[in-house]
Symmetry: C2
Subunit: 318 residues, 2 copies
Amino acid sequence: AIAAPATALAANEPIQPIEAAKPKNADMVELGKMLFFDPRLSKSGFISCNSCHNLSMGGTDNLPTSIGHKWHEGPISAPTVLNSSMNLAQFWDGRAKDLKEQAGGPIANPGEMGFTHELAVDVLRSIPEYRTRFKQLFRSDKIDIGMVTDAIAAFEETLVTPDSRFDKWLKGDKKALNQAELEGYKLFKESGCTGCHNGAAVGGGSFQKFGVHEPYKTTSKAEGRFAVTGKDADRFMFKVPTLRNVELTYPYFHDGAAATLEEAVDTMGRLQLGRTFSKEENAKIVAFLKTLTGKQPEFKLPILPPSTNETPRPKPFG
Amino acid sequence: AIAAPATALAANEPIQPIEAAKPKNADMVELGKMLFFDPRLSKSGFISCNSCHNLSMGGTDNLPTSIGHKWHEGPISAPTVLNSSMNLAQFWDGRAKDLKEQAGGPIANPGEMGFTHELAVDVLRSIPEYRTRFKQLFRSDKIDIGMVTDAIAAFEETLVTPDSRFDKWLKGDKKALNQAELEGYKLFKESGCTGCHNGAAVGGGSFQKFGVHEPYKTTSKAEGRFAVTGKDADRFMFKVPTLRNVELTYPYFHDGAAATLEEAVDTMGRLQLGRTFSKEENAKIVAFLKTLTGKQPEFKLPILPPSTNETPRPKPFG
Ligand code: HEC
Ligand code: HEC
Ligand code: HEC
Ligand code: HEC
Ligand SMILES: [Ca+2]
Ligand SMILES: [Ca+2]
Ligand SMILES: [Ca+2]
Ligand SMILES: [Mg+2]
C-alpha cells in the first residue's frame, strides 16, 4: 500500500494539526509584542497584557479569577491567548468579534488595566520610539487606539503552538503517542468530546451549553452568551475553550473551579455527556490531552523604550 | 604619537567600561532566569522578581514606590537589578551583603511577594522539571532556599550592560559622544559628581550622606544606613546608586520623588555639592548621563514548566 500523505491522514480526524504562523508584517508583530508587554498601557504602570496572559506560563495567569488594577478580583477566569486567533469570537461569551475588538477592552476595564484609551495613547505619543514605529507602519503622524489594537492583534496571531506530539501523530509519526494516549484519544472521540472540541484548536468553534445532562453548580454570576444576545436559550452557553495546551492552562472552566485536568474531564463526562468515566478511562483522556501541548511561542523579551519628561506618570495608588 | 591602548585610556578616567558577563555555569543562569520570572514564588502566584525589576524596562518598575502583594505600597523605591552585582552591598541601606543574601528577602516579605521560603520551595519541589534542574546543578535530591538564591544570584550576575556610548568613548571611539555630552562629562567630573559616582557602575561603591550642603526634604521614613548600624553618623547615609542606564530608571532617589533626570541633577548639585547648575549645564550633564545606557540583557522569554496536581495553589485573595 502507498502511504497516505500526512494531510490526508489528518483530514479523516476531527482534529487538525496547527500550522506555524506566517506573519505578514514582522514590524507590526514586533510593535504588538512591545505593546503586549508594556505596563504603561495601565493606569498603575504595573499591569500589562502579559501580567494576566503570561507567555511564560501558557498565556494565562493560572488563577481561578484574575488580579486587576488595585488587586481587583475579576469576575471570570482568564483564557489563554495562545491560538486565540482561531476562536469564532473572543471572551467566554463571545462579545468581541475578533482579537482587534477584544484588545481595547482590558485597557479601559476598571478592574483590569484601569486606564482610558485616550491616556494610553497619550503615553505612546510621548515616546519617540513608539512614534517612529507607528509612523512607519501606519504612515500617519498620529497614533490612535485602532492602531494599537491592530498591532496587538497582529502579535496575538503569531501566538500559535504547532508541533505538539498529537500533531506529529496526526501528520503520520505513529510513534509520537504511546498506547495510553492513543486509547485516550479513542475515548475522546468515541464518547463524544469531539462533538464540541474539534478543529485545529480542539475547541473555540462554537458556543455550547455548560451543563447538558445536569446543571453546573457554581457561585460565579457569569451567564455566558445570554449576556450578549439576551435570549433565554443562550443562558449558560459558553464558548467551547480550546484544549490546545490545556496542561498549562489550569485551573479550568469559566469560574476556574476545577483545579486539575482529572476533575475537568470528570465534570465534562458527567455534565456534557451523561457519562461517568472510570479512573483508568479518565487517566487515559488526561494523558491524551497532555499530548496537545505544542511548541510555545519563542521570542526575545522585548526591550521597551523609556518614558520621557512628557509622558504622563502612572497613578498606582491615586 | 602612538595611540594609547583602550584600557590605558579608560584607566585615567574615574569611570571604567563595563565588560560583558562571562557566566561560569550557563545551566545555573538559565535556572536563575526561570526563577526570576516565576510568579509561583509569590503567595498570589502573580508577582515575580520581574514584576518589580522589569527587564523590559531597565530592571525597575519605574514607580516612586513599588506595588506588592495585595497592592501593598512599598516604603522605598525599587533600584534596578542591572549591574547590581557591582554594588558593595544590596539595598539602599546595604543590609544584604550580596545578591544571594538579597534574593531571599522579597519572597518572604509580606509587602512584596508575601510568601514563605518553605512554601516557595514546596512549589518548586512539586514540579518535575525544576526537580531535574536542581538535581543536575546541586547533585542533591532536595531543593532548599539556598539553592534558589544561588541560582537567582547567578542569573543576576549576567545582568550587566556593556557597550554604552560612553564605554565606546572610554575605549577610544572619540566619535561616540557629541560635544554637549563631552562637556556634560567634563562638568560631571570637575564639579565633583565622580567623588561619589565612580567605577564601572558609576556608583554602588560607597554609602554617602544624602543632603551634604542642605537637608533633603522628604515624607519617606527611610533612615538609610542607620537602620543597619544604629550609629548616629549613619543617619541618612544611602548607598550611592549606579548611574548606568539612569535614563531608564526614573523616577529618582530612594523615595522616587524626582520624576526627571533634570530634577535629580539639580538636587544633587545643590544638596551634595552646594552648586546650582545653569539650565545649560544641567542639560549637558543630563545629555552625558544618557550616554550611560548600555546594551540591555538579551534573552528569550523563559518558558516555565507547569504546576502539577501536587503543587500548592496560589492564594491571591485569601
Ligand atoms: C487583569 C487581568 C487581565 C489583563 C490585564 C488582560 N486580560 Fe485578557 N482576559 C482576562 C480575562 C479575565 C478574560 C476573560 C473575560 C471574559 O471572557 O469575559 C480575558 C480574555 C482575553 C481574550 C479572549 C480569549 C478567549 O479565548 O476568549 C484575549 C484575546 C485577551 N484577553 C487578550 C488580552 C490583551 C491583548 C490584553 C492587554 C491589552 C489583555 N488581555 C489584558 C484577563 C486579563
Ligand atoms: C456539549 C458540548 C461539550 C462536550 C460534549 C464536551 N465539552 Fe468540554 N467544554 C465545553 C464547554 C462549553 C466548556 C466550557 C465550560 C465553562 O467553563 O463554562 C468546556 C470545557 C472543557 C474543559 C476545560 C477547558 C478550560 O480551559 O477551562 C475541558 C478540559 C474539557 N472541556 C474537556 C472535555 C472532554 C474530555 C469532553 C468529553 C468527555 C468534553 N469536554 C466534552 C463543551 C463541551
Ligand atoms: C514588590 C516589589 C518587588 C519585588 C517582587 C522584588 N523586589 Fe527587589 N527590590 C524592591 C525594592 C522596593 C527594593 C529596595 C528595597 C530597599 O532598598 O530597602 C528592592 C531591592 C532589590 C535589590 C537590591 C538592588 C540594590 O541596588 O540595592 C535586588 C538585587 C533585588 N531587589 C532583586 C530582587 C529579586 C531577585 C527578586 C525576586 C526574588 C525581587 N527583587 C523581588 C522591590 C521588589
Ligand atoms: C557626596 C556624594 C554624592 C555626590 C557628590 C553626588 N551624588 Fe548623586 N547620589 C548620591 C547618593 C547617596 C544618591 C542617592 C540619594 C537617595 O536617593 O537616597 C545619589 C543619587 C543620584 C541620582 C539618582 C539616581 C537614582 O537612580 O535614583 C542621580 C541622577 C545623581 N545622584 C547624579 C549626581 C550628579 C549629576 C552629581 C553631581 C552634580 C552627583 N550625583 C553628586 C551621592 C552623591
Ligand atoms: Ca485561569
Ligand atoms: Ca484556565
Ligand atoms: Ca529609580
Ligand atoms: Mg480582558
